[in-house]
């Protein structure tokens, strides 16, 4: 059985080309060279178009504050400066507070999503119990229900639980929205691990949880990383939920702060500080994505596309 299953356990990193093989037919070397040059010409223009807003924000953030706010803008920084970052760090509660809040939220969300999705995915893959299909269906139904429509009653529920205006309450909400993808992915992954491996462990005296922890969880580790990666990206970037559930400026996360720079400045808007904020908000995501890229693709292959 195996090919299909191993593929889902080990991340498939390579997306290999199909339509390209068509080109093999052209024998003429000069024409082929011209085609290659044209290909790279178009591709580079497009790649630059996609990357330039990111690069532009980074370049602007290192201009002096005056230059960053200059009208019309300069193309490249005349001199490099950290002034915008200094201005940003003093915004309202101070960047430290916002970073700490965002890290805390991410930590809760990532740990919560991983624990809950791994346990539930395992339970769904390996056990039979009453209400199983109903629960699995309800979990997937979260996808169907628009996020924004359910925030209103969620606000009331969190109030009853005493979790309004807390990062942990917000983390629970974000974990809940990770469930459909995470549980589905983990269930698929566990289903592709042969039961015999665990049965051997059980015979050797492992508990059910021990079999999960010492055997299966190690085999599906790539999928666990995928769940963590998705949870990180969501919680780091989430804007609407913190905006609604947090009403205390000392608890705000980076995205909320970022938008506030625009609206909260009583005097002149500081575009330099805003773009420094954009850089601070996006760099961790870019770095983590580039480092864990293959797990992202693995998640799409094992999770989303097998439904």
């Amino acid at each position: 059985m195996s090919t299909a299953n191993t593929a889902s356990v080990q991340p498939r990193t390579q997306i290999s080309p199909r339509p390209a093989q068509i080109r093999r037919r052209r024998p003429n070397p000069i024409r082929r060279k011209a085609a290659t040059s044209a290909f790279h010409g178009v591709a580079i223009v497009l790649a630059v178009a996609f990357l330039s807003p990111l690069i532009w924000a980074a370049l602007n953030s290192f201009k002096t504050s005056d230059e960053a706010n200059q009208q019309p803008p300069t193309w490249l920084p005349h001199s490099l400066s950290l002034q915008n970052y200094r201005n940003l760090s003093g915004f309202d509660q101070g960047i430290g507070v916002y970073l700490l809040n965002t890290f805390t939220l991410c930590a809760f969300t990532v740990v919560g999503s991983v624990i809950i999705c791994v346990l539930a995915g395992y339970g769904f893959a390996r056990y039979t119990f009453r209400g199983k299909s109903l629960l699995f269906g309800s979990t997937l139904a979260i996808l169907m229900v628009p996020y924004a429509t359910i925030l209103l009653p969620l606000y009331i529920v969190l109030g009853h639980l005493g979790l309004q205006n807390t990062l942990i309450g917000l983390a629970f909400v974000l974990v809940m929205f990770q469930l459909p993808f995470g549980v589905f992915l983990m269930r698929n992954s566990f289903e592709s691990v042969p039961r015999e491996l665990e049965e051997a462990a059980l015979v050797d005296g492992c508990t059910a949880f021990g079999a999960l922890r010492h055997v299966s969880a190690r085999i599906v580790f790539p999928s666990i990383v995928t769940v963590a990666l998705f949870a990180f990206l969501t919680s780091w970037n989430e804007y609407l939920a913190p905006l609604i559930f947090l009403n205390d400026g000392t608890k705000y996360t980076l995205p909320v702060m970022l938008v506030n720079i625009r609206y909260a400045s009583f005097n002149i808007l500081d575009v330099g500080a805003l773009q420094a904020g954009v850089v601070v908000a996006m760099v961790p995501c870019l770095v983590i994505y580039l480092a864990l890229q293959r797990f992202y693709v693995n998640g799409l292959v094992t999770g989303a596309l097998r439904g």
């Binding site: 080309p17 178009v42 924004a148 909320v256 870019l286 994505y289």
Partner: protein, 315 residues
């Protein structure tokens, strides 16, 4: 046998394997209590933060729910009010237009980019990564960036448009309803098309190479291979992407909230933005709940119709 009670397996090989494997009395699948313990945390979360709020939402939609004080049931009043709610009706129209344009543009550009990043030439991986990177940047950061860039005095977009000769004087790219719509769509395409590209590439990868080789031996042209092999094999992927794109556009909020704030002159108010305004700006909670229920029903219907359409064409 307990196997028969399992939910319809998504992965037949794995499920059938459990049947052939040796089973010992007392192993995993026989103890429902243990199984339930594993899913309990998820069950609690789904119940408390999804099913209960969903119930409250439906109840709210039939009440006059004041910010302070106790709610009272008012039957279908909230739903009737929606029929004459100009902001909501305008938002529906705008959201439909936005959804149609975005979905078409996203697919058109995604196909072009797939041709590039699916190539076997060197550098294809780099191009693919370049197209995808905007996707991992958060909406708040991306919209803030876009907001600065669209400004008539400070923005780079004007400078570029001037430099290549499309415009000759600074224009506020969020200044008129049409420009604001185009600017938001540009942002959405820039941010989301990379995701479509990756999903399409994953779908293409799943098509067996032998099919193409066989077709080529039979003398099929490039176009014929695309038409009779690639497109039919990609159908599930295309269905998934259409559903994601339509649903995502119908529920668009962040980019409008941050970039245009619904302006200029409330010309870019989407359904969810109207809902947000009603609930959290004017605190008409009962009305907002009715609006949410309507959106929810429409979405479920739209997805059901799309799924059916794609299935029918498959047969």
């Amino acid at each position: 046998m307990s196997l028969l009670m399992r939910t319809p397996p998504v992965d037949p090989p794995a499920a059938s394997e459990t049947g052939t494997g040796r089973r010992r009395v007392g192993t995993a699948a026989r103890r429902p209590a243990v199984g339930f313990a594993f899913v309990a945390p998820a069950a609690i979360l789904v119940a408390a933060l999804f099913l209960v709020p969903l119930g409250i939402l439906i109840y709210m939609s039939f009440t006059d729910w004041p910010l302070i004080g106790s709610p009272h049931v008012n039957g279908l009043d909230n739903y009737r009010a929606l029929g004459s709610d100009d902001q909501f009706l305008g938002a529906i129209k705008f959201t439909l237009i936005y959804t149609a344009i975005t979905t078409v543009v996203l697919f058109a550009i995604a196909f072009a980019l797939v041709a590039i990043s699916g190539s076997s030439r060197r550098g294809a991986t780099f191009y693919r990564t370049a197209f995808f990177l905007p996707f991992v940047v958060g909406t708040a950061a991306a919209s803030s960036m876009w907001w600065v860039n669209s400004n008539d005095q400070l923005g780079i977009f004007n400078k570029v448009l001037n430099a290549v000769g499309i415009t000759n004087q600074p224009a506020d790219l969020l200044g008129t309803p049409d420009r604001a719509l185009v600017t938001v769509i540009a942002l959405v395409v820039w941010k989301f098309v990379g995701f479509q590209v990756i999903v399409l590439l994953v779908g293409l990868q799943a098509i067996p190479t032998e099919w193409y080789e066989a077709a080529r031996m039979d003398g099929a042209s490039t176009w014929q291979r695309l038409r009779y092999i690639t497109l039919p094999a990609l159908r599930p992927t295309l269905a998934l992407l259409t559903i994601l794109s339509v649903t995502g556009s119908l529920l668009a909020f962040d980019q409008f909230f941050v970039l245009t704030h619904g302006g200029p002159d409330n010309s870019t108010v989407t359904v969810v933005l109207a809902l947000y305004n009603k609930a959290f700006q004017s605190f008409r909670l009962g009305n907002a709940a009715a609006e949410a229920v309507v959106i929810l029903i429409v979405l479920v219907l739209v997805n059901a119709i799309q799924l059916r359409l794609f299935r029918e064409r498959e047969n």
